[in-house]
Amino acid sequence: MKRALFASVAIVATAWASIPVSAQEMKAEVIHWWTSGGEAAAVKVFADQFTKAGGTWVDSAVAGAANARNAAITRTVAGNPPTAMQLNTGKQFDELVEGDLLADVNGIATEGNWIGVMPAAIIAAATRKGKMYAVPINIHGQNWLWYNKAVLASVGADEPKTWNDALATLDKLKAEGKVIPLAFSGQKNWEQNLFNSVMIGVGGAQMWTGILGKRDVSLAQSAEFKAVAVTYKKLKDYVDAGAPGRNWNDATNMVIQGKAGMQIMGDWAKGEFVAAGKVPEKDYGCTVLSNGSGGYVMGGDVFVFPKAKDPATTKAQMTLAKLMLTPETQIQFALKKGSIPVRSDVDTSALDACAQKGMRYVADKAQQMPSGDMLAPPALIGALQDAISQYWNTSMSADEFSAKVAAVLKSAE
């Protein structure tokens, strides 16, 4: 606690010291957490465009999402905000809007007709009190199934379409016994991501918004929810003993090398396949398991702009907001990041097969599902994460688990 306070004081102090006040030229200091190779290349797309527009991009990358958010929010509250900061699409900036700390981008949004070209869920996640306060820049699908085509072919299995298909395929792989059926990374957030994929794939859209959006306590104790819980727990039979604590990219590489059959992971896993020189729809397949009623869980990133005192900064902010969403920037960024563009009206021919599949999902209104972050505040997502993680790792029954989830939803009111 004390250390954290010290750290934030130090951040604020150094920030005060290092930034000359009132720059007349357009200058944008941007805090984000894109530090890995592909991510850094992606953020450079924005930086280059901003430089072209006559501005100066000051890059303040902070490693680790929580650290970056912290640094940016601490500085904003202390009255020395950055020009722009990255957050995940969702509820992370609720309190900043309530505290009247953010500039709205409604003018730019209306001018660029964002509502016409973006999925409704993404627009809703960026809108507070009828105004847009955030610039959504990409969409990450969170519940993709990645599989090794050669491994599935070796047991005569086709691409699974539903969770029942997937379970049948996993059974075949297990019976054959040559590979680990399901590659898994046993960390809390991935345990939750796997559960979410089952919840949307087995329970469907109603279940998804009912639990995360409406926080319906009785739904959490329904037979349908217990069916989701049972399916989730079944998956434990298909993972290996080394799964707990494993990193997600190590699990992805098990699929790449043919040591494992399939993995559930967001589309950032594609970067690993690309780095290994694998070709989509030839070496590996990608699909989203669904029961037919909605199925593509859309997460992503946004930029928000803290209110600025001097007009030069405001000008820089609005310039950034505009150029982040030009079709050209959108495509370039998506290619580097592995995500898909947030605009539906861009030319997707440059994207790879899996990204085009993602675009098709997003184009279908019935398939668009808002991510958990968009529906619930971080505290609730975290409390659910603890419950899911306990259920996955202990001998807890589905009944006990649904009672626990109901209690979490109740306490969040």
Partner: protein, 292 residues
Amino acid sequence: MRLSLNSRLSAISALLPALLVMLVVYIGATSWTVWMSLTNSRMLPNNNFVGLRQYAMLFNNDRWITSVHNIVIYGVLLVSLALLIGFLLAVAIDQRVRAEDTIRSIFLYPYSMSFVVTGLVWQWLLNPTLGIQHVLRSWGFEGATFDWIVRPETAIYCLVIAGVWQASGLVMAIMLAGLRGIDDEIWKAARVDGLPKWRVYVSIIIPMMGASFATAAVLLSTAVVRLYDLSVAMTNGGPGIASEVPAKFVMDHLFERANIGLATAAATTMLITVIAVVAPYLYWRARRGEVR
């Protein structure tokens, strides 16, 4: 003796910075933390007073209860095992062995590593598909199992193993200094009396080394309360919530989960616990001072 005004002023001005730091950083930050735990602050601090609701939530929270259980298990085992192993190592080195300096450096080496490094190394060693179990099986011991780190009921003991491995060397160094401080005459007298060696250690040497034991125990105890990075690096609190610890609960809820109220309630609970343990000792020391 009366101090002149001048020297009194200079004394005050010399002490002022320390006093300010004390007031602002320690008292100020601590009071703010306690106040926050009585509000419903989420991502940003606010002043909406909600009484003890955060504490009620805290003690209904499985993860917090598990964290408290874990710190007790870790604390008792770490302090007792590190004291025991450290003392035995010191006794072994004290037998006038050759290459004493080298051995001492080797045993002290773990202590120079950060908990993050220690955690990662032990994570690999204990991982059933990469570490000790894997090696034993590849040598032909098919039935060998050593999978404590992936089983919820045993994961916390893996933290204890790593913690003891790191701390024992330090305890050894302290104990060795204590042993070297013991007069040779005592050994000679014991030999004249024909006492067996172990008996000398148990009945004479250990009681004489009270200060060394106290120093080591205090150092180990502070390490217990601070336990955070080892849990993050080794298991990240997993499998499930099996190896969560209080400091990690505070950090996670403070930042990632944007739940300042609950995090500060947990931090305040930790503070009260530490005060409850330390207060009797301070009282006893103060009383002893008066008697003198």
